[in-house]
Amino acid sequence: MILEETLRGGQAWSRRLARGQILRVTDTAGTACLSALFYNAREPLERYNMADTLKAQYTAFLTAGRVLYSDMGRVLVSLIADSCGWHDTISGCGDAAASEARYGQGGYQELRNDFHRNARDNFLVELGKWGLGKRDLVPNVNFFVRVSADDSGRIAWVPDNSRPGAFVDLRAEMDTLVVLSNTPHPLDPAPAYGPPPVELSIRVAAPIERPGPDDRCRTSRPENARGFALTEAYAAEVEPRRDSAGTP
C-alpha cells in the first residue's frame, strides 16, 4: 500500500494519483456521501466533465465498468470495482447555506473541529492549495449516493443506496489530481449532521488490474475504446519514457 488514511466526517482531501495507481474509497457506515472532483495533475485546465461522461456511456449514473471523462476526450479514472452499484453525478454538492438550513449554524466557535463543513467550501479550500478556485468548480461525483429521476424529471433521494463496507476502486488512467469532500449530500434527509468516516487506500495496479485489451472499462462501450486510445496517445506525448502500464 502506498497510502492508508481515514477521512473523518466533514474532512476534505486532495492528492495526485499517478497513472496506474488505484484509489479505493470505502464507506465504513453505509451512509457516506464522498463528493469528488478530478483534474489532469499536469494541466488542471483539463478536468472531469459530467456531461461528456454521461453522453459517452449513455448513462445517468456511475458504477463498475464505467469511466470518468475529462473535457478533452480522455479518461481520468476508471471504476474497476464497485460493491455499491450506483454513484451520483447529476445532483451537485452542498454549500454553507444548504447546511445551515438543514442542520443549523454548526460553527467552529461552538463545535471546534466537529463544525459543519460542506462540500463547496471544502472544494474551495483544497483547490486553493493547488492554485485553483471557483472557476474550477464543475459538476462533481457523489460516491455512495443515488438520486433518481422520474419520467417528468422530478428527482428524489434514494435511501439505503450504500451499506457498511461498500467500496469503489478508481484506477488512474492519467496522472490525476483527486479532490474529495466527506460531507453530507444536500438532499440527504437525515436530520442531524453526521458524515461517517471514509477509508482511503492507494496501491499500484497489479498486472492483471492494468487496462489491457480486454479490460472491462475499455470494452464496455466502443466510445471507451476510443477514449482509452486518446488517453494513451496523451501519455505517449507527456511521458514518452513510461511504458503503457505507467511503469517508469
Partner: protein, 231 residues
C-alpha cells in the same frame, strides 16, 4: 422534411408539458437578430431585461451559459439549478441558478416545454470519443464558446465553461439511470423567454452538431430578442 436521415418517431410517454406564451411584441424589442447555425454569440443583459430565443425551424439545440456580468466567477450551475427546483428539465418557472445559490435569470415563458442541462456542449475531443477518431475536424460548440470568449477579451477561456444549458434539446433520463439523446420536442417557431435577475453575460453557441438528433441532423438559425424591463 428538411432532414435527410430517416427518423423513427416513437410514441412519447412523457407527462404533457405545460406551455406558457409571452405577451411581448417583437416590434417593441430593443434587439432582434438572427443567429446562423454554427455561430457563437455573447451579450450583456441588464437586470430586468427579457431575453427570448426562438427555434425558427425546429429542434435546434442552443448551447447557453450565463455569468454574473460584474463578476464572471459567479456563473451558471447545472446541478444547483436542478437541485433548486428538484427537477432535471428546465421550463417556465425555472430559476437558472449560479454556483453561489443565486438566480441569474428566471424562465418566464416557454412554448417548447422542456430543455436540457445534463447533455453539455459538444467539443472536437468529445466528438472523437462519441463518434469516431476522425471527427476531430468537425465544428463544435466548444470552439464557438472559446472563440466568443477570446473575442470578448475579458480574460475568460476554457476554465469558464462549466456544464451548460441546451435550449430545445431533449435528453430524457429513465428511473433506471439510462440517458439518451431523443428526438426533439420543439418545433418551428417555439421559443423560451427569460428575465435577467441580475446583470448577466449571455454566451451562446448555436450548435453545429451533425452526428446526433439534437439538431435533427440539420443545424438551423435561431432568433434572439431582448426587451427592456417593463417601466
Amino acid at each position: 422534411m428538411r432532414h435527410s436521415s430517416p427518423r423513427i418517431t416513437l410514441p412519447v410517454p412523457i407527462t404533457p408539458f405545460v406551455l406558457k406564451e409571452s405577451a411581448l411584441a417583437p416590434w417593441r424589442a430593443i434587439h432582434d437578430e438572427v443567429l446562423p447555425a454554427g455561430r457563437g454569440w455573447s451579450r450583456e443583459l441588464a437586470r430586468g431585461q427579457i431575453f427570448r430565443i426562438v427555434d425558427l425551424e425546429g429542434n435546434q439545440a442552443v448551447d447557453t451559459l450565463f455569468f454574473n456580468a460584474r463578476n464572471p466567477d459567479e456563473r451558471y450551475s447545472a446541478t444547483d439549478t436542478i437541485r433548486a427546483q428538484g427537477n432535471l428539465y428546465l421550463t417556465t418557472g425555472t430559476r437558472l441558478m449560479s454556483g453561489e445559490g443565486r438566480p441569474l435569470l428566471t424562465i418566464v415563458a416557454d412554448t417548447c416545454g422542456r430543455h436540457d442541462t445534463l447533455g453539455g456542449a459538444c467539443s472536437a475531443e468529445s466528438n472523437q470519443v462519441r463518434y469516431a477518431l476522425d471527427k476531430k475536424y468537425m465544428h463544435n460548440c466548444r470552439d464557438s464558446f472559446l472563440l466568443e470568449l477570446g473575442r470578448l477579451g475579458r480574460g475568460m477561456g476554457k476554465r469558464d465553461l462549466p456544464s451548460n444549458i441546451n435550449f430545445f434539446m431533449n435528453v430524457p433520463v429513465t428511473a433506471e439511470g439510462g440517458l439518451s439523446f431523443a428526438d426533439g420536442v420543439s418545433a418551428p417557431g417555439r421559443y423560451v423567454e427569460m428575465r435577467a435577475e441580475m446583470d448577466v453575460l449571455a454566451l451562446i453557441s448555436n450548435c453545429p452538431q451533425l452526428n446526433n438528433p439534437c439538431n435533427a441532423y440539420n443545424p438551423t438559425p435561431v432568433r434572439l430578442l431582448i426587451w427592456d424591463a417593463a417601466p
